[in-house]
Symmetry: C2
Subunit: 222 residues, 2 copies
DNA sequence: GTGCAGGTGGTACCGCGGTACTACACGGTT
DNA sequence: AACCGTGTAGTACCGCGGTACCACCTGCAC
């Protein structure tokens, strides 16, 4: 049994969801909320498996409510549901920690399948949006993930040098790198120097950028 | 009516797909291929709406075949189907231009829904994979798209300081920044110093990383 | 054995980066 | 008028980073 909290400012819309969800045995609507604030409060109180969240609402919108529910560490998964397929919404919702994004014109069985998937910890995206999301994804994700094509400058590095480059990419000073790998600072300097020469960077800053470009370093991987 | 080309090295698997697809009126299997090379050839010849593509095959694999079919500008959409949910496969397939990625353990109706979506130009991802993809997506996509949540450290910066930070993020030296903005190097140092203090970075390297984390700087935006 | 690649370490030197001040001009607020 | 935030600019100082060497050891290939 999957418990659901329905969040929408339109009573009729909530009613429709309730009818649909109660029509199948696996889902149960345990509460409703008409705006973001109520959603956050009821999510904490009712601890539903899934929060069915509208975006456009008076007061606190669905994005912010999603962010707070996720940030609060609630067990609930948030499935954002909207009539608008605007890119910004999708991005904002996903960044807010939503587990899914469906359009309201989805067929009932799609919606139910979505709730089922989200309840299981998976994620769902409306097919119509997935395309654009993937296109963007392909843009952002560095090429070398996907294997095959690796930057020739990278492959010329020895294992040790690659390690050093990663450390440089984390923003570590030579001293920190030396401490971490239990080396003398001189050795680190030697390595760093060779790395810079090999990848064609004039200083460690270029090396950091290089590392980020290739996905060697990752945001907040410290 | 959606025409489908089934690509799999196992005859039995192909047979299974054929039975399933022919069991509904909306899809029709117009051909089969046992490996990548044959898939590329038949896709060009039969011009199916959808290519159901296995990854693991002797000879040319499904990824490469997908790449070639997409690169050839065929009208066919490729739906990759595999037993393995390995990250590398997903990335590689999507980068190769696949319109979808489903697992072979998908329920028949999921598969049919996937084919339907892909035929319409949408894209599908197996729910079990979507989660990980989104997690990565959230990492890669710059924070400022999605608006709302802005790092408080960033908002404390003045316009000029933000400009300077972006320049630092590009890996420019103080001298280069000074030249670019027509300032004295002293002024640049002052600005950089203030930026570092405000964002809590000990040196410009941390600032570069900070800029990348927030998407202020983007790979290869030079 | 000799040679080479890779890893480690050292010395010496220089310059850029960063800090700590101070200073002044401008626009807006009170 | 006094004040503050912002942008500009300067001087002085110090240290880390980077370069240019050289040196030694290990393991592996010839």
């Amino acid at each position: 049994m999957t418990t659901v909290l329905v969040v929408d400012d339109q009573p009729l819309q909530r009613y429709g969801f309730r009818i649909l969800l109660e029509s199948v045995p696996e889902t149960e609507v345990v509460g409703e909320a008409a705006h973001g604030g109520e959603a956050v409060r009821k999510a904490a109180e009712l601890r539903p498996d899934v929060v069915l969240m509208d975006i456009r609402m008076p007061g606190m919108d669905g994005i912010e409510a999603t962010r707070r529910i996720v940030a609060a560490g609630e067990r609930s998964r948030v499935l954002v549901l909207t009539t608008f397929d605007l890119d910004e919404y999708v991005h904002a919702a996903l960044r807010a920690g939503a587990s899914g994004f469906l359009l309201k014109d989805a067929r009932p069985d799609e919606l139910l399948a979505g709730i089922r998937a989200v309840a299981l910890g998976d994620a769902v995206i409306a097919p119509a949006l997935t395309r654009r999301l993937l296109d963007e994804f392909a843009q952002y994700v560095p090429a070398h993930r996907g294997g095959h094509a690796e930057d020739p400058r990278l492959s010329s590095l020895t294992d040790r040098e690659r390690e050093i480059l990663v450390a440089v990419g984390k923003g570590w000073t030579n001293g920190e790198i030396a401490a971490h790998f239990v080396l003398s600072e001189s050795t680190v300097k030697t390595h760093v120097g060779r790395v810079l020469a090999k990848i064609g960077a004039r200083d460690r800053i270029q090396a950091v950028i290089f590392a980020y470009d290739l996905g060697l370093a990752r945001p907040s991987t410290d």
